[in-house]
Amino acid sequence: MDIAIEVKNLRKDFVLARQSQRLRAVDDLSFQVNTGSVFGLLGPNGSGKSTTIKAILGMLNPDKGECLIEGISSKKRESRARIGYLPEGPYYYKFMEGLEFVSLVGQLGGLTKLESVSRGEELMDLVGLQDACDRRISGYSKGMLQRLGLAQALVNDPSILILDEPTAGVDPVGAVDIANIIGGLKNRGKTILLCSHLLSQVETVCDEVAVLNKGNLVASGKIDELLVAGNEYMEIPECSLEATQRIEAILSEEGQSLVKRRDRKSLEQLFIELTQEEE
């Protein structure tokens, strides 16, 4: 399988302002993101996620190691021609209108004005901002800014998407919409590097994850493999009282008992069901 993003032995230190000490933000970090996969970069605040993303985007010079984008060093600007980036807590030009901004990003990525406007309209529609195209960004809500961020990240049809907290500030219904868009992009063969604190979302959309803590890689691999717990449970579908009693009897002979659990909705599921019914 081809590798879209490769981080090799990345190390980055920052000099602390008031001390002659250095803070190691990332230490000997290595991971690979396969082409066409959705890769989750997880970790608590200060774990080195943003530093890693900035190194991938060539905005930071690593002290050691390197980042390769489809084989091209992230120090070369050619590497960024393949990337669409949604920054964390998106800050965009407040004085511009939504479509105007997406069109600007498209033109900076090589589209003509006509192409960028047409593509921008398409994407504003995709992210549900078709009615806000001509509105100043200063009037956008946080959720709308995230959607706008997704539109600008997609405008140049990049093969790799780096999404830093794409659902931060978005309501649960909007978060599901964004997750669906991410799923759609995955089906179209896009490679996605996703940073998110919404672990349920990461679990749903990601194929693989890397977990960072204090700049170190503490776990990485396929989600299914990482989430395997010690005990193995069997699921018994709803059956007659008689059948249940027979199973209990067999288990009792083994010195075990049947553990009964009732399916429980998550609060998120309930919220989505209720608000979608209202609509």
Binding site: R77, R80, P87, Y93, F95, L104, G110
Partner: protein, 282 residues
């Protein structure tokens, strides 16, 4: 789609797009209109205060007022705009979205300069045209009141006023490029604004440093004077409003020399800004 992107060479289109967006930002800034209104107000005052012209010629008084406002408010605009456009972009984090595209840092720096300079040009052009209109109206009134003084036609050369305005664009462009240089490694916009103001003052006094260089025994002092003489442009060269007001026209060669001098310093400061910004971690 990305195949259309010119990745091999320096891309002027990128700089132009960034410049256009930056210009849009400046003309949507309240400061631009506030300074413009203040400048026009001061020009209007010169009309009303014609009785207090301290014995100097009335048209010269209006011209001095106009040139003074252009230089004073223009320098404030140049310093604040250049700082806001460059450092403001880092502070507001909007730079991440732009530099995540395949853009050279040099294209970004030049784009920001284009945006700031176009803003300066718009401001100076507005003031110059208003000043020319004021002078024309006042001169026409005086011509009807004192036809004997104007027996040989109009006294003022309006092309000189326009020329002075253009030279201020060059001078303020240099100031803007210095502020961009300091903003490229600044850690606060206040720092780049303060340095901009200090540079503006030192640049006005640069000719004194040139004259004083070599006249002191202290090596330290001579070194400082030498650095000031070389590193800072002589802004005083562009203060030829008095001569215009007295009816002296500057020759084309003087204009060309001033443009060349300004372009050279802008290129120097922007090159240093590129070197500094290329190494900056965001």
């Amino acid at each position: 789609m990305n195949e259309k992107l010119n990745l091999s060479f320096w891309n002027m289109r990128h700089a132009w797009l960034i410049g256009k967006t930056s210009y849009l930002e400046t003309v949507r800034m309240k400061l631009f209109y506030a300074l413009l209104a203040l400048s026009l107000f001061s020009l209007g005052c010169s009309f009303l205060l014609q009785e207090f012209n301290f014995g100097s010629d009335e048209l010269k008084f209006i011209m001095d007022f106009g040139f003074g406002g252009m230089t004073f408010f223009g320098s404030i605009l140049a310093i604040v705009t250049a700082s806001q456009l460059f450092y403001g972009e880092i502070e507001d984090r909007t730079v991440f979205t732009i530099l995540a595209k395949p853009i050279r840092r040099s294209e970004f720096v030049v784009g920001k300069f284009i945006g700031a300079w176009f803003c300066i040009v718009s401001f100076v052009l507005c003031l110059t045209l208003c000043l020319m209109l004021s002078l024309f109206v006042r001169e026409s009134i005086l011509m009807s009141q004192y036809p004997e003084v104007f027996s040989e036609g109009r006294l003022l050369n309006y092309l000189d006023v326009l020329g002075f305005g253009f030279m201020q664009c060059v001078r303020l462009g240099m100031l803007g490029s210095i502020v961009i240089l300091f903003s490229s490694y600044a850690t606060s916009s206040l720092f780049s604004i303060i340095i901009g103001v200090v540079t503006w003052i030192l640049g006005q006094l640069q000719h004194l440093a040139v004259n004083a260089w070599g006249q002191y025994d202290s090596l330290f002092l001579n070194t400082i004077l030498f650095i000031v003489s070389i590193a800072l442009p002589n802004f005083h060269l562009y203060d030829f409003g008095d001569k215009i007001a007295l009816g002296e026209s500057a020759s084309i060669s003087v204009y060309l020399q001033l443009v060349g001098y300004g372009a050279l310093y802008c290129a120097l400061y922007l090159s240093l800004a590129v070197l500094s910004f290329r190494e900056r971690e965001l």
